[in-house]
Amino acid sequence: MEKELDLTGLYCPTPIMRTREEIDKVQLGDVLKVKADDPAAEEDLKRWASRSGQEIVGIMKEGEVVTVTIRRMR
């Protein structure tokens, strides 16, 4: 199962806060696809995931927009 979260137009630290809320709504082992255009989002999401024990399974960039795929591990 895969859930998408569109965070374009939102800026630091909102993308992290929203991702934190939404990751709890996916099943363990499922993925959350987060789309953001905050230039801080990629670095912040990578660090947030690593710090909170979630797994980044993909990062895709299209212009200003980055899509980070996160697997819920805990």
Binding site: Y11, D38, P39, D44, R47, W48, R51
Partner: protein, 127 residues
């Protein structure tokens, strides 16, 4: 990879909150970070609040104190030496600086990154 290379390098973080209005505060983080690199540490500088003014293209090209080289020269040396540079996105927003005005070769980051960098560093120094 040899056993020596496998050993995790110690991390040191410099947080620069001072901007171009206090030129005497701009050299130290770059000099210390380059020295840290030479000491086989892993240094990073996080530019926060007024600190981001230093990273604006052209902002420090002509800032020079005493017999020192320009801040720009020291910054370029630090980047070339492999010092990781971060710019706080919300600080840029606060002072009305578009992201496109930032110099190349740095990472734009935010609140989660600075918290994480402080926690993962073996030492943190604030300017």
């Amino acid at each position: 990879m040899s056993n020596i290379e496998k050993v995790q390098k110690k991390k040191i973080l410099y947080v620069q909150t001072s901007g171009i209005d206090t030129p005497e505060r701009l050299y130290a983080p770059f000099i210390l970070a380059m020295t840290a690199k030479a000491m086989d540490l892993e240094p990073a500088i996080y530019f926060l609040i007024k600190g981001v003014t230093v990273l604006k293209k052209g902002a420090v090209d002509s800032i020079k104190l005493g017999s020192f080289p320009t801040v720009k020269e020291v910054m370029d040396q630090a980047i070339k030496a492999g010092v990781k540079i971060y710019a706080c996105t919300q600080s840029c927003e606060m002072i009305g600086m578009p992201k496109g005005d930032l110099i190349e070769g740095i990472t734009v980051a935010g609140a989660a990154t600075v918290n994480d960098l402080v926690l993962e560093a073996d030492g943190v120094l604030y300017f």
